[in-house]
Amino acid sequence: MKADASNFSRAMTGAFGATLRRDLLLSARHPGDWINPLVFFLIAISLIPLGVGPESKVLAVLAPGVLWVMALLATLLSLDGLFRSDYDDGALEQCLVSPSLLYFTVLAKIVAHWLVTGLPLTLLSPVLGLMLSLPGGYGTLCLSLLIGTATMSLVGAVGAALTVSLQRGGLLLSLIVMPLYVPILIFGASAVNDAAQGVTVGVPLAILGAFLALALALAPMGASAALRVCVDSD
């Protein structure tokens, strides 16, 4: 019994570790995958002052919301690739038929996705905040984006799995996932807003953390179910 249990857990962690390592290696070999969302984030943020004018007072008011919306869009754009290449080359079917739990394989792919998109976006955000003359709350900006992008990767994975077998799934993916991002955006942006005005930010950050916990438990299951439906049927 004991040997079984340890074998089982090794099989689980093995699948998780192997998938994570493989996906990170793939991203390292195709730097465009993770650089493009960052460049998108940078360019999109630079467009804001061009659109609304260079006055730092106006930009300071807009900064928290704009940074959050753009980070959301950059995450969305990167989601399409989450399962796409594995679906195209058949690796995804191997994951589906493998004896290890799909939950952990999917979770590993999501974690890898977050490490190469959400984390760099978070690290870049203070610089962009500076460019938009965000008056304060840089720590909160980083922390909220750190939690928020992870939740967005998890929730978005369900959408990515649902659209994986479609030829032009990218736009559809954005359509179905964006409404689901509303709560994350609300609490993330309001945390940064509060911090910029010097108010305590415990509540919105705690709620963001609760979203992350909920998404961590449920989203990989939803994504697994979606993959089984969409990959099997085509």
Binding site: G159, L162, L172, L175, M178, S233
Partner: protein
């Protein structure tokens, strides 16, 4: 066992089609009578509002539509879940039919809300908590319809949109609470729903009539959509061919 028999019968689209064919005329008559009664009662006989005058009367369409928009999402999601769990063909057909009806009702409640907002608040659109929630609900409906139509394979389309509907169900309470919180945070004090929390019975009864009327009307429309969907999907089966042949002779 006997109590489950009706449930197993529901698995047969033919049984459903034949049963509902008998109910449909009755339900249509009830819906029409209630709609006419509620409309005339609400628009002509209920008293004028103290503050808003006659413009409040749009409540008799706005509120029932908003009720059904939300209830329709749950009807859609629950039938999707039934389809996924018991692999029932009929449930997926109901789910697919519920999506455009729900989207239409959400749209109606948004538009009537805007029309009501103009004389009452002085603006067509305000980022009020309830309006925003309704707008996001509308987006959720659109997403499900888009996903449903994107698949070539019907089974994949059914199951994928059922999963999305369920994900949306988990999200709807969270979205509502978040939008509520977001709204109270911003507090645009100039705009407030002026209708008092307690509504006088002379206005309440026509409103309740309209709510019931909309529910019955919703059932009628859902049945019509679902019956169409049954015919479309079962068009190769013997009983549909017979039915069509019989209709043709008439």
């Amino acid at each position: 066992m006997a109590s489950w028999q009706w449930f197993h019968r529901l698995g047969s689209p033919r049984w459903f089609y034949e049963k509902t064919g008998g109910w449909l005329p009755w339900l249509t008559v009830i819906a029409l009578v209630l709609l006419v009664l509620g409309t005339v009662w609400g628009l002509a006989f209920s008293p004028e509002d103290f503050k808003q005058g006659n413009s409040y009367r749009i409540i008799y369409i706005h509120v029932p539509a908003a009720f059904l928009a939300l209830a329709g999402y749950y009807i859609m999601a629950i039938s999707g879940a039934v389809g996924l769990i018991w692999r029932m063909k009929l449930a997926f057909m109901v789910m697919k039919s519920a999506a455009p009806i729900g989207a239409a009702l959400t749209f109606v409640s948004l538009v009537t809300g805007a029309i009501w907002g103009k004389p009452t608040w002085g603006t067509w659109w305000a980022w009020d908590a309830r309006i925003t929630s309704m707008l996001i609900l509308f987006f959720l409906y659109l997403g499900i319809m888009a996903l449903q139509s994107a698949f070539q394979n019907r089974e994949a389309a059914d199951k994928a949109s059922a999963i999305l509907a369920l994900v949306g169900t988990v999200n709807i309470p969270i979205i509502y609470k978040s939008v509520d919180w977001w709204y109270t945070l911003h507090q645009p004090a100039t705009l407030k729903l002026t209708s008092a929390p307690t509504i006088h019975s002379s206005m309440l009864y026509p409103l309740l009539t309209m709510v019931v009327a909309f529910y019955v009307f919703y059932v009628v429309v859902l049945l019509l959509y679902t019956r169409n969907e049954i015919l479309r999907r079962e068009s190769r089966t013997g009983w549909v061919r017979e039915l069509v042949a019989k209709e043709g002779e008439r």
